[in-house]
Amino acid sequence: MRTLRLLAFGWWFQFKTISRSPFEGLFQIIYPLFFATVAFLMFRAGTDQKTLLYASLGSAVMGMWSATSTTAGGAMQRERWHGTLEALVASPPHFALILLPITLAMSTIGIYCLVATLAFGRFVFGIQLTVEHPLAFAISIVGTVLSFGALGFLFAVTFVRFRAAWALGNLFEYPVWLIGGFLVPLVLLPEWVRPISWALAPTWGMNAIRESSLGGNPWPDLAFCLALGLGYVTVGVLALERVLGAARKRATLSLT
């Protein structure tokens, strides 16, 4: 019970911290719209509404992913700059219980991006969002947010040890768009890329959202997405003690 309370309060606290900057909030909404515009213009060549909806959902999840991947590193960097990283590490709970809410708060911001992109597609490009299974659609979004947060957590474990690792988030931003099948179906990618796609929770989250919207069966995809998310958290938790030990040994926690 105490663990759940700590996770929930930590998430709320970090979400409040991020939401306090109107500039950053606006940036999170506007930034994905540029990519969405490119996607819509590309896919508008075909007149099929389903294709446009495919692109609309893809670019919405692209925004969600960008919000998580780029800001997870930034969040840890901010903890370093503010000198709060040491304060967090020196507190009694397992550091995973402190770190996970931070990355979950980041991925929650991704919901803003999703809503903004879908609304942009609807009102600027006239793309109708028809959701065949609304409940499954909502659950798929929540599951995808959780798995993005879990992947962000895995990144953040690295950021705790290496100061410059925030750049990893930026490095992974565009490749995951591609190999996660956000805009291009996976079958069009080379075969050797597919195992990498399957190891990424965003791939399955994207599928689940599309299936629930277009009338397919989202549950297997969602199950894979959540299972991978759980896997990322498990690996992150196991690695965290070692990473923190190295940071305490090398005295890198207080460095900015």
Partner: protein, 323 residues
């Protein structure tokens, strides 16, 4: 059993120079520090900047792993039982960093109350009483980015006491505070001991250590060079005379030459607006004024005075004796 035990602590940092041909070197920040702090004691770790105070305190609060040696807090090893140690200690770092600036002081305290496991029902009353204690009552809903340095430092103190820890580590808590703020904070520190807490205070202000601490360890270049009660330390260097010479334009190397004069116990220089003050402690019954003036290479000299040694002279003598 001592509440805090440091046994032969060493800490070496690895640092590098150059970009392409990188050269690595080891810097020994702490070299064999040992001390014990008993229950209810206010123990001072006194030393100049870079002496190893913060490194020592960071090893004790589990943020750094010692290169060698051991340390225990309330019987728990700081490396093997880090989580047990963290539950039982509070710590306060001086300076403005370490707060979430976009959020209010109250939000900051709520978050750390959760992290330190303060029961939800007690959080509100606990935070309110601490805000009262550190003088932030009425300002707690403001964003901390608008707080002055002193307010942030007082917020640190409140955060360090949220879970009512039996042991408190204070790392230069009054640094940068105005005189009134520093005096108020010192009164708060004194009240911690009255409340039965064990406190380790690091400072480079001699008068602060003298006013607050039951015992002091003077640390310099990573080693403890003296320890005892403030009275013991004063006794150690209470002999002799202090000669103060006001010099306008201190010649290069003059202080080093003064230190080599027979009968000189210590020598230091303080900057005073237009001039420098050469402060020399000499052995008893030795008259060195003329000899000292001859080492100044004809530099303009203002006021010359003599006085009895103070505790500050004791400190200067200790930290400059092996320079």
């Amino acid at each position: 059993m001592a509440v805090v035990e440091a046994i032969d602590l060493h800490r070496t940092y690895r640092t590098s120079t150059g970009t392409l041909r990188r050269k690595w070197m080891d810097v020994e920040a702490v070299r064999g520090v040992s001390f014990e702090i008993e229950k209810g004691e206010l123990f001072g770790l006194l030393g100049p900047n870079g002496a190893g105070k913060t490194t020592t305190i960071k090893m004790l609060i589990t943020l750094l792993i010692p290169t060698s040696g051991t340390a225990r807090v309330l019987g728990h090893d700081v490396v093997k039982d880090a989580r047990e140690v963290r539950r039982r200690i509070g710590y306060v770092f001086g300076g403005e960093r370490g707060v979430y600036e976009r959020l209010s002081g109250y939000d900051n305290l709520r978050y750390f109350a959760e992290l330190y496991g303060v029961p939800p029902k007690e959080q509100k009353t606990r935070i309110e009483s601490l805000l009262e204690l550190v003088g932030l009552k009425g300002r707690e809903q403001e964003r901390t980015e608008g707080y002055s340095r002193g307010m942030k430092q007082r917020l640190h103190v409140a955060r360090g006491l949220l879970h009512d820890p039996p042991v408190v580590f204070l790392d230069e808590p009054t640094i940068g505070l105005d005189p009134v703020g520093a005096r108020e904070l010192r009164a708060t520190i004194a009240s911690l001991v009255d409340a039965g807490k064990t406190v380790l205070l690091t400072t480079h202000y001699m008068f602060e250590a003298d006013a607050l601490c039951d015992r002091i360890a003077v640390i310099n270049k990573g080693q403890i060079v003296a320890h005892g009660t403030p009275l013991d330390l004063k006794r150690g260097v209470a002999e002799g005379t202090v000669v103060e010479i006001e010099v306008f334009g201190m010649p290069d190397g003059a202080v080093e030459r003064v230190r080599e004069i027979g009968g000189v116990m210590s020598a230091s220089v303080e900057e005073r607006e237009q001039a420098q003050m050469l402060i020399v402690q000499t052995e008893p019954d030795v008259e060195l004024t003329q000899v000292l003036l001859s080492t100044l290479d004809g530099a303009s000299v203002g006021r010359i005075s003599k006085r009895e040694p103070t505790l500050e002279d004791a400190y200067v003598s200790l930290v400059s004796s092996d320079e």
